[in-house]
Every structure is written in structure tokens, then in C-alpha cells.
Symmetry: C2
Subunit: 146 residues, 2 copies
């Protein structure tokens, strides 16, 4: 590692990301969702409001569709998602959020809001805004689904 003040941007991005994720999992566990694993969460997070196909979940989470299937099986058994037939393609099925996932999502969103508030208090409103703005702009060249 270089001198303390010169960490590369990757590490700099990762540190707050992980801090946030840790906070979310801690609160989720406290509120009766200790059964969601990080791997499952990475898939669950990507299920859209109208359902999402397995293949699409796999792509976005950067895992194989077999792995995605495995994780969705578990999420289904645990009551977080349902699989419904896709009306537009009989091969496909849509993974949809169930009640339990919506409740968990609400809790997670609350933690995110809380942490974002803490960050804004630490950075000041102006720098927080600059941060979000720069990251949003960066998305244009780093997010394949932007």
C-alpha cells in the first residue's frame, strides 16, 4: 500500500460500500431477516418491481444462471420471492418479490437513508452532493446497464 493519503480509488470506493453493507446486514439480522445470506441478497437486490428473469438476474449479479437458480431456489423456500410464468415467453419465468422481501427492502432502505444522513453530516451537504454527482456521472462508463 502507498502512503496513507494515497489509497487508490478502488479501495476508496470499496471501504464505504462495505461499511454500508455491513450496517444493512446487521439491522436486517436484528429484525428477523438473519436468514438472507450476502449471496442471496446480491440477487434479491436486483429483482425489479414487475419481476425479473433469472438470466437477467444472473447477468447483473455477474454469476452463472445456474448459481442464480440455486440462490433463487433458496429465496423462494425462505419466502422472499415467487416464480411466476412470464406471459410473453413460455420458456421463461419471472422472479417476483414476495411480502417478506418488500418488508426487508423497507428496512434496508431505512438503513441506507440513515447512513447517507450520517455521511452527509460528516462531509457537509455540498461535498455529499458532489460525491453523488460524480458517482452518477461515473456510472455512464462503468455500468453496463445504465
Amino acid at each position: 500500500m502507498a502512503a496513507e493519503s494515497e489509497l487508490n480509488t478502488g479501495v476508496l470506493l470499496f471501504l464505504p460500500y462495505r461499511a454500508l453493507e455491513n450496517r444493512i446486514f446487521a439491522v436486517l439480522a436484528e429484525s428477523g431477516h438473519e436468514d438472507v445470506t450476502p449471496a442471496q441478497a446480491r440477487v434479491l437486490q436486483r429483482v425489479g418491481p414487475d419481476g425479473t428473469r433469472l438470466t437477467e438476474l444472473a447477468e447483473q449479479a455477474q454469476i452463472t444462471k445456474q448459481t442464480a437458480g440455486f440462490l433463487v431456489d433458496q429465496l423462494e423456500k425462505a419466502g422472499y420471492v415467487r416464480r411466476e410464468p412470464d406471459p410473453s415467453d413460455r420458456r421463461a419465468r419471472l422472479v417476483c418479490l414476495a411480502e417478506k422481501a418488500l418488508a426487508a427492502k423497507e428496512i434496508a432502505d431505512g438503513v441506507v437513508a440513515e447512513v447517507e444522513k450520517e455521511w452527509e453530516e460528516h462531509l457537509g451537504r455540498r461535498r455529499m452532493k458532489q460525491l453523488r454527482e460524480a458517482l452518477t456521472a461515473l456510472r455512464e462508463i462503468t455500468d453496463p446497464w445504465a
Copy 2:
């Protein structure tokens, strides 16, 4: 997910992080380091220039010391690290970077520099600076080892 323009800061941090990581692994694989797995890399990344204890590696990577030991075993077999006795504590051993790891690190650093340059070109010098500055400040409240 919310409207496109309103992604939470966690996702916003994660997207560029993963893009960078993917680039690093791609180049590393091309240059004869296809044997380092992501899990190993997360440990390897945290080995300091003067060697680092297993327990410390485990803490920083947020894995158990058993897992860390398992990964270091593999890195050692693959020639990326050595284990040397810690002169200050006869129980402990220091995990030290070997030649092969230094070479890989040089390559990785090159990719990071390249990607940072691309980002700066996209954002402009000013916003890139603001981004790094905000992230560095955030480290004060999100990095337990800051």
C-alpha cells in the same frame, strides 16, 4: 429500484468498484496470473510491505482466520507469499509478499492508473478531485483501520 437518477449511494459506489476490479482481473489473467482467485486477491491486497499477521489479514478482509489461513496456504503454494517467523512474537508468523506478488501488484497498479485516467477524462479533473477528496474524508467514518 427507484427512478434511474436516484440510485442509492451504496449501489453508486459499488458499480465503479466492480468495473475496476473486473478490469484488473482481466489484465492479470492475460499476463499469466490467471491462478489468483478473487478470494485470494482480497487477502493478498492487504499484505503490507513488511509482512502482515494472519489474524490481521483476516480482520481486514472480514473473514475468519481459518479461511485466511486456507487462502494464504494456496497463495504460498502458488508462490505469491512466504511465511516468516515474527521476531516480536514466537506464536506469530508474518505473511510476506514474494516476487510473483510484487510483479502482479505492479500490473494491477498499472491498470488502476489507466482506469483512473479514463475516469478523470470522463469526469474532468475537478470532479475527479472532488470525488477522491470526498471518498477520502468518508474513510474517517467508514474505515476501522483509518
